[in-house]
């Protein structure tokens, strides 16, 4: 059932939708490049994994989602958060460990979440999200609200038992769940061509009774169309889909990774394949959007991230009174 989609038409997105999508991708990109720079100054603590290069996936999928829908993410979660509507200003503060952060500084980059937005959290455990999404999809089904759950996970995570058994459970229960395997070629320093014992992750779908689709992850429109199909099918009771999105991450596995395992694939991707460049070229060439409208978004995003960083740096840290609170709802 695995099929490769060629780049489709822009589909139902009108100018406003396109501009939103561009804004989301651009926000993710600038957010991540800024975190990369700030991390280098030593001011950002902990482990940080950047999503730059992969923006079309989170954006293409989440542009179909609304308040009924939920997503689960990974250690590389900033992009999914932004795409699902989490406030980048709070996110930046969280990454700096500040009390004003999305999680009051208790979570950090690997645990940004906003349940009120249906964002169930980045996740420090590879393969942690797919089981949870079986649950949010189940809740939507029980509540009969047409909602879906989307689990984003990496090529490395596609080998984790928790992920694989979730595919089966979602099929058995016929859940409105979408499994988005973001194949960026590597799990840490390990190539997915080595660790995934199949030509494609999407090839696993058949063994779990669901359609498997492969899309070019640098192409927002390809992701958007594949996700749209899967999501409408799920909303209508047609069950889960596995979508494999292929692309390259622009930075190391985590900030600090020397990347000795890589060839120079990033330069080529940035230059020739980049999702933002391609998006801009396509919508301006087709006349759907003016270049100037995109430029305006660029400056707005730049200003937003600038102020996010300024606010994050200025914000207070949590203090002793916060240490033992919020372990339980009731004590």
């Amino acid at each position: 059932m695995t099929e490769t989609l060629s780049t489709p038409a822009a589909g139902e997105l009108n100018a406003e939708g396109l501009l939103d999508a561009y804004r989301t991708m651009r926000t993710i990109r600038v957010f991540e490049e800024r975190v990369h720079d700030e991390f280098a100054t030593g001011e950002i603590p902990g482990f940080v994994h950047l999503y730059a290069g992969e923006e079309a996936s989170a954006t293409g999928v989440c542009s179909h989602l609304d308040a009924r829908d939920s997503i689960a993410s990974t250690h590389r979660g900033h992009g999914h958060c932004i795409a699902k509507g989490v406030d980048p200003v709070e996110m930046m503060a969280e990454i700096y460990g500040k009390r004003t952060g999305s999680c009051h500084g208790k979570g950090g980059s690997m645990h940004i979440a906003d349940l009120s937005k249906g964002m169930l959290g980045a996740n420090g455990i590879v393969g942690g999200g797919p089981p949870l999404i079986c649950g949010t999809a189940l809740a939507a089904k029980q509540q009969n609200n047409g909602g879906v759950g989307v689990a984003f996970f990496g090529d490395g995570a596609s080998n984790q038992g928790t992920t694989l058994e979730s595919l089966n459970l979602a099929s058995v229960w016929n859940l409105p769940a979408i499994f988005v395997a973001e194949n960026n070629g590597y799990a840490e320093a390990t190539a997915s061509t080595w660790s995934v014992a199949a030509d494609n992750i999407a090839d696993r779908a058949a063994g779990f009774g669901m359609p498997g689709v492969i899309v070019d992850g640098f192409d927002f429109f390809a992701v958007h169309e594949a996700a749209g199909e899967a999501i409408s099918r799920a909303r209508e009771g047609g069950g889960p889909t596995l979508i494999e999105v292929k692309f390259t991450r622009y930075f190391g596995h985590f900030e600090g990774d020397q990347q000795a395992y890589r060839a120079d694939e990033v330069a080529n991707a940035r230059d020739k394949l980049d999702c933002l460049k391609r998006f801009r070229a396509r919508v301006t060439e087709s006349g759907q959007l003016e270049s100037s409208a995109l430029d305006t978004v660029d400056s707005e995003v730049a200003a937003l991230i600038e102020s996010a960083v300024t606010e994050a740096k200025a914000a207070p840290k949590p203090t002793g009174v916060d240490l033992e609170t919020d372990v339980y709802v009731s004590y």
Partner: protein, 337 residues
């Protein structure tokens, strides 16, 4: 309250009443109905020990069988709990925690803290623990100490049908993740249980016997063992205060300390293996907080540091019994500096 029913029936009744009360309560687990996809009966099992029997037909669409994929379905229960449901998932044997622990301790337990107090995850994981049924090393463990270590989890060890019903109702209404540990050798134990719905609050010990000479703290099935020991001890003039904390987390430290302040002596009875278990937990609490009152060494009656043996001859030696509790209690009562 003259009606007596079994521990199994008490649990079933709590589930039924809570499902009537709140439509967001759903039940899931391997063969919790039973017969999924099979040609015969649809509610063929009601769980491997029959606890969920009958709910499938009474609550259409709310009792879900699952494939054997504990990470996926326990995780699903947790995920659903974050989206307005109150799932009760059955982890058939507590020994199976090893294939799904991540979802419990790194996901459910940490959401609230890690997300800055913004998550509510009202999931209950019912699970069967304990030795006595010759079920051998991988089906007989008392692993509640492991769950007790985990901040963010509440852990319940009901010691009777009455406790089972009221604590399960509380677990379902509670807004935090709860590990509900049912002792497999108690399902047929009968006791008085009110028909109407009721809850028993977490973190409040039940005083099972009152006495002045020694405090005995016991958990789960060990409560009845301790009570039996206390009765035997009473016959020889030793009056024991027997406490059933009901929940290991939160733990009713106040009642335990108060009792020891009064008796000056402590015996803890825990079916778990001896290292880093509830016996050490309570002993340490008392050695820290009530040292001034202590008049004798603290005794701990536990399983040995071995897997649970299969042969009845060995398993009977493995499980703490009333005689061992009596002996331990006498040793602390008779202790002289």
């Amino acid at each position: 309250m003259a009606r007596t029913i079994s521990y199994r029936e008490a649990l079933n009744e709590a589930l039924r009443q809570e499902m009537h009360r709140d439509s967001s309560v759903i039940v899931m687990g391997e063969d919790n109905a039973g017969g999924a996809g099979a040609p015969g009966a649809d509610d063929a099992w009601g769980g491997v020990l029959g606890v969920t029997k009958g709910l499938y037909h009474e609550f259409p669409g709310r009792v879900l069988d699952t494939p054997i994929s504990e990470s996926a379905f326990v995780g699903a229960a947790i995920g659903a709990a974050t989206r307005g449901m109150r799932p009760v998932a059955e982890l058939m044997f507590i020994d199976f925690m090893g294939v799904c622990f991540d979802q419990i301790f790194n996901q459910a337990a940490k959401f609230r803290y890690m997300f800055g107090g913004k998550a509510v995850t009202p999931v209950v994981i019912r699970t069967m623990y304990g030795a006595g049924l010759r079920a051998a090393a991988q089906h007989s463990q008392s692993l509640y100490p492991i769950f007790t270590t985990v901040p963010g989890l509440k852990v319940v060890v009901p010691s009777s049908p009455y406790e089972a019903k009221g604590l399960l109702a509380q677990a379902i209404r509670d807004d935090d993740p709860v590990i509900f540990c049912e002792h497999k050798a108690m399902y047929d134990a009968v006791g008085e249980v009110p028909e109407e719905s009721y809850t028993i609050p977490f973190g409040e010990a039940n005083i099972v016997r009152e006495g002045e000479d020694v405090t005995i703290v016991a958990f789960g099935r060990m409560v009845s063992v301790a009570a039996q020991a206390a009765d035997e001890l009473a016959a020889s003039g030793v009056q024991a205060d027997v406490l059933d904390p009901r929940t290991t987390s939160p733990l009713d430290t106040e009642s335990i300390l108060e009792s020891v302040e009064n008796t000056g002596r402590l015996v803890v009875v825990d079916e778990a293996t001896p290292r880093c278990n509830l016996a050490t937990d309570v002993a340490a609490l008392v050695a820290k907080e009530a040292f001034g009152a202590l008049r004798a060494p603290i005794e701990m009656v536990t399983a040995p540091h071995t897997p649970v043996p299969f042969s009845d001859a060995l398993e009977d030696l493995y499980i703490p019994d009333a005689q061992r509790v009596v002996n331990a209690t006498k040793s602390v009562v008779q202790w002289q500096r």
